[in-house]
């Protein structure tokens, strides 16, 4: 069983002492661990499959929707200007909800409250297209989630999840991604797990997908019960991961193996 074989590999690797947070100078994006060919796929907008979703997102941005008959563009204008940097700042604190929300949740807040339209389902084609289009507007900018006393408890909860052993394999995220990044796990290189390019086109999925999809897959990989899409645990973890990647260049829509 693949999961078991992975466990044997990691138990051997994790014999070394915990390394703690990766120093800033050593922080590397997942794209640094990819082959030249996969990197080339990401860097060329005429060849990056994620761009199919970005283009659809652009047309959805301009499409009137909901009972209010409003397009995103009506309030926000040209996304190239108004949405610049937004994806690189999410998850962001939402005062009404009293907690951080992801970009996906922010889109749905606008849809339900301003456009009077039903929320888009997680991992639906439209939500992926819109978030891909928004994320594209932050490409090249540094990741910069705000941390203050309002977001601190959620950041701490996300950090606790990252360092907590989970699942039947009893592994914490940090054991692979802090302590053993750069080494091989059954033929794949273990990346540092910085969400520098979401939503991204994953070759394994043959489709674009969100960070929460990837996190759920990792949880399944260590044989833990995956949190539901939109669960507080996942949002807090997303906030922590973005904070952990602070200052790194945003490269959405990325391509990953």
């Amino acid at each position: 069983m693949r999961g078991f074989r992975a466990a044997v590999c990691v138990v051997v690797l994790a014999a070394s002492a915990s390394a703690g947070e990766i120093p800033r100078a050593e922080r590397r994006s997942g794209s640094d661990f990819m082959s030249r060919e996969t990197r080339a796929m990401q860097d060329d907008d005429t060849a990056n499959p994620g761009m199919l979703w970005v283009l659809e997102g652009e047309s959805l941005w301009n499409k009137k929707t909901g009972d209010a008959g409003r397009a995103c563009a009506e309030c926000h204008g040209d996304a190239r200007a108004s949405m610049k940097g937004v994806a690189a700042r999410h998850p962001a604190f939402d005062a009404t909800r009293g907690r951080p929300v992801t970009l996906e949740q922010r889109v749905n807040v606008c849809r339900t409250e301003r456009q009077k339209a039903p929320p888009l389902a997680y991992e639906s084609r439209e939500l992926l297209a819109l978030t891909a289009y928004l994320a594209r507007q932050s490409r090249g900018l540094p990741i910069d989630v705000a941390t203050d006393q309002r977001t601190q408890p959620f950041l701490d909860a996300g950090r606790a999840t990252f360092y907590r052993r989970q699942g039947q394999l009893n592994l914490a995220c940090s054991q692979c991604h802090d302590d053993n990044w750069g080494r091989q796990l059954a033929g794949n290189v273990v990346p540092q797990a910085h969400p520098t390019g979401y939503p991204l086109y994953r070759l394994e999925w043959q489709s674009l997908g969100s960070l929460q999809r990837r996190l759920r897959n990792c949880l399944i990989g260590i044989r833990a019960e995956p949190y539901e899409y939109g669960a507080a645990e996942l949002v807090d973890l997303e906030l922590f991961l973005m904070w952990r990647a602070r200052g790194m260049t945003f490269e959405a829509p990325a391509v990953r193996p």
């Binding site: 005429t46 499959p49 199919l52 659809e56 652009e58 047309s59 043959q206």
Partner: protein, 106 residues
């Protein structure tokens, strides 16, 4: 899905060889995958891609399930005259998609 992403130089010199990049959204379901309950997921692929230049066919690709999802095809053609490059993808379940791009040849 924005169905297709096509990249053609908008202008070229007569006789110049131009490179055309095409990317179309399609799952290219192989017909070999099974659901958790064992049922075969039926094949659903693009089988044929044709490029015509002012109506004359200049390139054709016959595809099988081994072509990756969201088929990406890059090929060349000689810029002979101004006009329209038309691209057509056809496949299983009556799939048919056409796109056209204008080109100016000096």
């Amino acid at each position: 899905m924005a169905s297709a992403l096509i990249n053609v130089p908008p202008r070229a010199k007569r006789g110049e060889i131009i490179e055309i990049k095409t990317l179309i959204s399609h799952p290219m379901e192989t017909g070999y995958r099974r659901t958790q309950l064992g049922a075969l997921v039926p094949r659903d692929i693009i089988r044929l891609f044709v490029c015509t230049y002012n109506g004359t066919e200049v390139f054709r690709a016959e595809l099988h399930p081994a072509i990756a999802a969201n088929p990406f095809i890059v090929f060349s053609t000689v810029a002979t005259e101004s006009g329209t490059l038309a691209f057509q993808w056809t496949g299983d379940r009556g799939f048919s998609e056409t796109e056209s791009v204008a080109i100016t040849v000096d």
